[in-house]
Amino acid sequence: MQLKEALQPLDIESLRKDFPILQRMVNGHLITYLDSAATSQKPKQVILALEDYYKRYNANIHRGVYKLSEEATQAYEDAHTKVASLIDASFDEIIFTRNATEGFNLVAYAWGLEHVKEGDNIIVSWMEHHSNLVPWQFVARQNGAVLKHIRITEDGLLDMDHFLSILDERTKIVSITQFSNVLGTINDVKTIGKLSHEKGAVFIVDAAQSVPHFAISVKEIDCDFMAFSGHKMLGPTGIGVLYGKKDILNTMRPFLYGGDMISEVNLDKSSWNEIPWKFEAGTPNIAGGIGLGVAADYLLGVGLDRIFEHTRNITKYALQKLSEIPGVVIYGPKEINLRGGVISFNVKGIHAHDLASILDRFGIAIRAGHHCAMPLMKHLGIQACARASFYLYNTLEDVDKLIEGINEARRIFGYVS
């Protein structure tokens, strides 16, 4: 990890050259991409890694004893090591999945269904993405457990008093986002984990938004599982990660059964391969895994502390500029130190979808809708909101374009600015 005083600002101009898509013209304008919380753009290093695999050493892994298969196996396994070093884990604790959603489902099926008993409870929060909510609804219903939700405060923070009031000895799982994809809130997962462990619960972190944005140590957080997606952290789609503590993974039953996850197969029974392969049944997304490893290297090369600093500066600027526009309501914490590079907002009198459509005419891409967090939308008393999210390749000029676009939308809708 880098020392704070050694932080150099990003060389944004040369960094942007790594992302070919940023040269794309949309509706006559150079694209302004402000939807990285949905999916990040990809640097050419990642794109080339996919091409290189398919062009030079495409072969199945863990099978062939010929050169190509050895190269593919090595590259795919190395990718696990690279991702492990990104979150301070060890190689065999990194399971490649399709995405964060599959990671949660793996834990839900292979751990949750086995250990959650009737009358137990599972705790999530109001600010969870559907991916960290719906699997637990399933486990709770299946096993007769109760699903509880930590409330959020008016400032968009987790209500820790409420958490303490619902956490008890029957709590088997606590699964919380580290960085809300709607509110931008950064949660103190270390404290939540400590409290959960004191009651004997397993603690899971949704790191889909956090891994792309800041330096993370699973050892320091002391979580039992952590799930995230590759495509939000400069990697390809269709590849994600579940981290699990070695001791727990070793005692768990598999999630999917089939090829590559076995050590010995008889006609009537089989024994399981070592971790992580026990949880990676069938031919995996080899190219995607290799690409994800390259993405992890890229992030480490730029430095996550610098990326965090960069997006925080942009977020700060955007919060200020947005709040100057009449009729703009911003959701989430007011305090910049409690939030990351995501801003959800509404403009009075303009539905978020109309706003997004108008911005698109100027090549500006933002998200509009419920952001896969319908219970949170209900809590905020809105049907939808607009969301701008920032990443390492964004600039202050991108924010200026967004503000200009919003003012244009207000003019079109007849609100003089």
Binding site: N27, H351, A352, H353, D354, S357, I358, R361, F362, A368, G369, H370, M377, Q383, A384, E408, R411, I412, F413, G414
Partner: protein
């Protein structure tokens, strides 16, 4: 034509600001509501028919984006005096024609929500054959 004119022609905005036939009937022959979960648009339509199954009056209520609400408003304006068979012949193209702006694949769901709601209401009406109480 400037960018904004392409997206929101003035009459879409006029319908959005002052929707026609906005409201509800307690008793209607055709009554149905629907949601567009993608953006949270909601539209509910109420149609009264006379003895010859001709649209006597119509109301709608709802909330959501300009495209969904304006297309619902425009749709209700065309219904009065049409026979049920004529109403059933209203097509996707008719709605897009009324809106008169290019609608992308994502926003198509907004634009066609009211038509889908109306079609669903007609199916229910023909299955029951009696007036619905809302």
């Amino acid at each position: 034509m400037s960018a904004e004119e392409m997206v929101y022609r003035e009459n879409i905005l006029a319908h959005y600001r002052e929707p026609q036939n906005f409201g509800e009937f307690e008793i209607a022959d055709i009554c149905n509501k629907g949601l567009n979960p993608l953006c949270g648009d909601a539209v509910e339509i109420f149609v009264r028919l006379n003895g010859d199954k001709v649209v006597e009056d119509v109301r709608f209520k709802g909330s959501g984006c300009a495209i969904s609400q304006a297309s619902a408003s425009m749709l209700t304006e065309t219904l009065k005096g049409k026979s049920l068979e004529e109403v059933k012949n209203i097509s996707k193209e008719d709605i897009l024609g009324m809106l008169g702006i290019p609608i992308g694949p994502v926003r198509l769901k907004c634009a066609l929500l009211s038509l889908r709601v109306l079609e669903g209401g007609i199916v229910k009406f023909e299955e029951n054959g009696v007036a619905n109480e809302s």
